[in-house]
Structure formats: C-alpha cells, structure tokens
Amino acid sequence: MQQKRSQQLDAIFAALADSTRRAIVARLASGEASVMELAKPFAMSQPAISKHLKVLERAGLISRGQDRQRRPRRLEAKRLAEATRWLERYRRIWEANFQRLDALLEELKAQEKGGAKR
C-alpha cells in the first residue's frame, strides 16, 4: 500500500517536473480544453502536446471528457486536491526562508554589538 502510494507520488512528481506540463495543469485548472486549444498558447505541435498529456494522464492528473469529437481534457481535481494546498505550501517555503533569516539577523545583531565595543 505504502509502496503503491509512493509510486503514485513519483508519477505525479515526474509529471509536474516539466514546465510545459505544469502550465497545462494551470490552464486546465480554469476549465477543460481540447488538445487543439491546449496546443495554441504553447506554440507546440499537437503531437508534442499529446505526449505531455499522456504523461499527465498516466499520473492521474487529467482525464478525458465525454465529448467524443473534442475529447476535452480536464483536471482531476480530487487527485490534485491533497497535493495542492498551494498557498500553504508557498507560505511554508517562505517561512523556512524567514526562519533562517531570523537566525542570521540575530548573528548580525551580535556582531554589531561586538563591533561597537571595539
């Protein structure tokens, strides 16, 4: 079970390790889109986009809609939901930065004090 979960995560991470695929995910977050619609803003050929879509599909991050002709891709929100508390994660990364900065400022203050004594 744990191993399967780990493999799923590997697939998600691998899928999101590419900037085009992240952009596709971001685009689909605002609604489903056909391959043609997705290819447009990226100045990529449809086959190239399809390759990226396959990777995202395998990771379970996107699926195909009902419309047979357009075959719109849509985001699997559930799949992403747990992994995407974006704002919170963003906050945490910066908080880690700022905690290091707290420590550094303490050092700098101590140095200044030492310098003033001289």
Partner: protein, 177 residues
C-alpha cells in the same frame, strides 16, 4: 481574499514550533497579487543588508531543504539586472529567477522578475518599515493575470519537486481535510 497565515500548521508532525510564525501572513489581496508580510526582530539597515548582500542572501534565501544558492548576482541601482540560481544538492536540478531593479531606496525595493519557465514577468515591491527596533517586510508580487499569479503560487512545486517530497507525502497520506 484567501489567507494561509493560519492554515493547518499541525499537518506536519515533525515541525518545530515556529518563532514569529504568527507574524507571517501570505494573502492574495487581488486576483493578480500575492502579498507576504513578516516582522523581523532587527532594525531596518540589518534587514536591508540581509535582503541585498549576496553573502547574506545565500544563507537564508534557499527554499525547501536540499537547495543551495549557487548564483547570487544582485542589483545595486535602478536598471541593474539581478539573477539568482539554486541547485538541489541531491538531484542536481537547477532553478533560477531574475529581473531588473526599478527602484532601490532605504524603505523600498521594486524589481521586475521572471522565474525560469514562467510565461511572463511580475513586478515585486518590497517595503521595509521599522518600528521600535523591529522591521516589517511586505513583499507584493503583481502578475499580468490571475492565471500567471496562480502558476507562481504553484511554483512551490518547481523548487519542491524533489525536496518537499516528504512533506507532500504527509499531506497526501493525511487524507482529505
């Protein structure tokens, strides 16, 4: 308006108690902005130094665990370009960001910024306000559109793909909220 300042700090079990954590806020004041506010227990000149000197920046501006800052070219006057790059010590992945300084004064720094892989630039305004020996830093990131703003928020992934693996796994295994 979204706010993550009070969001689930308890998700991460191994997390140590965060000093000053309650003074740190990340908000989205508009569709195109991200704003961060944090109070530091130091006078403004020291905080400004820490934000502008490469030898100091390299000590704290690192992102998730496992990343080191390998390029830190700062801007010293308006019109100067800056460029920061990080490298994951385990995977060797590299990630960078850069832009042009617009304004540099004691209380404010304004620069444009494009993260690697980002579709457009953002305008970053950092304000430094000192009161009673403490300095409040407010960073406001203005993007071209909501989509671009959201992508930037998600770029925590960019940095974190390898490094925040464990953290994400904890989130995933903690189940639906």
């Amino acid at each position: 308006m979204n706010e993550a300042g009070t969001a689930k700090a308890s998700v991460n079990q191994g997390e140590t108690t965060m000093k000053n954590a309650s003074t740190f806020k990340v908000t989205t004041p508009s569709d195109k902005e991200i704003q961060m506010t944090r109070v530091f227990d130091a006078p403004r000149p020291l905080v400004k130094d820490a934000f502008s000197k490469p030898e100091l920046l390299k000590k704290w501006l690192l992102g998730p665990p496992g990343w080191e800052m390998v390029v830190c070219n700062v801007a010293t006057k308006p019109g100067d370009r800056f460029r920061y790059e990080w490298r994951n010590t385990e995977t060797g992945h590299q990630f960078g960001t850069g832009g042009v300084a617009r304004e540099i004064s004691p209380g404010r720094v304004v620069h444009t910024e494009v993260m690697d892989g980002a579709p457009s630039e953002s305008l970053v305004t950092t304000d430094f306000v000192e009161e009673g020996g403490k300095t409040t830093v407010t960073m406001t990131l203005l993007f071209e559109s909501k989509e671009h703003r959201d992508m930037a928020l998600k770029s925590g992934m960019e940095h974190g793909v390898a490094a925040s693996y464990n953290r994400l796994e904890e989130l995933l295994t903690s189940g639906p909220a």
